[in-house]
């Protein structure tokens, strides 16, 4: 019975609606109602911002330390060095995001090609 349903053309779309759309947007809706009562200058908002910021920062370091796909095959030190170089360039350019991203990419690709040529 369950296999029959899982084989239909529409089952993936039910999955996407329930396990994708609903399971994701419900948090956004909860955020709207819980955030609607926050005062803009309140201490509670500062804490909520801290939680959200730390969370996004956690996403960042996970993406660099435990990347998915082909990037996982580069050495960790190269990814860290490229990120550090990008972040330093970001500061050196008076906080221009574009410069930071470009510098990190140049470092990564340069290092990658060099390792390929050596190895």
């Amino acid at each position: 019975m369950e296999d029959q349903i899982a084989g239909t053309w529409w089952w993936p779309f039910v999955m996407i609606l329930v396990a994708g759309w609903l399971a994701t947007d419900v948090w956004r809706w909860l955020g709207v109602f819980a955030g609607g009562k926050l005062r803009e200058d309140g201490e509670l908002l500062i804490w909520v911002r801290c939680v959200a910021t730390a969370l996004v920062a956690g996403v960042i370091s996970k993406l660099i330390l435990f990347p998915e796909g082909i990037l996982a095959e580069t050495p960790l030190w190269l990814r860290l060095a490229a990120t550090a170089f990008g972040f330093a360039s970001f500061f050196a350019s008076r906080q221009r995001v574009f410069v930071g991203v470009l510098a990190a990419e140049a470092f990564l690709i340069g290092g990658w090609l060099l390792l390929d040529a050596l190895g």
């Binding site: 779309f13 329930v18 399971a23 956004r28 955020g31 911002r49 435990f66 990564l108």
Partner: protein
């Protein structure tokens, strides 16, 4: 140099009375930006993954448009391809999406006009909350007059997601297989962009401390408490950052 930075000062006084539609257009125009291109690159990378996994074009597009948060999309792709049941899949996706709640909460006081903004308007806007648009909004919305922020954000989010939606479809159809080095470079784009712009979006010392605690705790919780790791990173790292910077601000009161 004007202290307000990006906002041109000559047009500032007349900004106040613009209709919502004009603010939406401005938001849509602002969407032609580096963050939008980086997000597009990330979704182009995802389109390749979706095709390799065996998802159809329609399924890939439905996920992109309806879920609109890349980590959750990736989790759902894994669930679909492994034939996971709908309940476990929903739980896995919900866990990957908890982060959207504090992010949306922090955004609300910024885009809401007390006594005027309707909840349904906020609910529509909230669908565009994902890391890219959130970081952009936290950085740039405070420079706009309050009345313009919500329509600007909807215009920005709508334009970015429409563009990414189309490019994901195009990439699914056109990109046969990316060279390794291009695919790898695309994967590094996202964290470096987040790192720089999150630092740029920080307004208080508390935000900067939270960023550092999050960077350190993220991998630790991932190794020792996988699954709920991001939630713990946010709660523990954010709370430490809040109290540490509060003690610096006001002493031990």
């Amino acid at each position: 140099m004007s202290p307000s930075g990006d906002v041109p000062s000559d047009s500032a006084p007349s900004n106040e009375n613009l209709p919502d539609r004009a603010w939406m257009l401005r938001g849509a125009r602002a969407a032609v930006s580096i963050p939008a291109f980086i997000l597009t690159a990330a979704f182009v990378g995802y389109a390749g993954l979706a095709r390799e996994t065996g998802l159809t074009l329609l399924e890939t597009l439905a996920m992109t448009g309806l879920v609109w948060a890349l980590p959750s999309v990736v989790v759902l792709t894994g669930a679909l391809s492994s034939g996971m049941g709908i309940i476990p899949a929903a739980i896995a996706v919900a866990l990957a999406s908890v982060r959207l709640m504090p992010m949306t909460m922090a955004l609300m006081p910024l885009i809401k006009v007390p006594g005027k903004t309707k909840n349904w308007q906020l609910l529509i806007a909230s669908h565009f909350v994902a890391v890219t648009a959130w970081v952009y909004a936290m950085k740039n919305l405070p420079d706009l007059p309050r009345e313009g922020r919500l329509p600007f954000f909807i215009g920005f989010g709508g334009a970015v997601s429409t563009f990414v939606f189309c490019m994901t479809g195009a990439a699914y159809l056109l990109v046969e297989r990316m060279p390794d080095i291009v695919a790898g470079a695309l994967f590094l784009l996202t964290p470096v962009y987040f790192l720089c712009s999150l630092w740029g979006a920080a307004r208080l010392n508390a935000d900067r401390v939270a960023m550092i605690t999050g960077l350190v705790l993220g991998p630790l919780f991932f190794l020792y408490l996988p699954g709920l790791d991001l939630l713990w990173t946010g709660l523990v790292g954010g709370t430490i950052a809040y109290f540490a910077s509060r003690i610096v601000r006001r002493g031990l009161s």
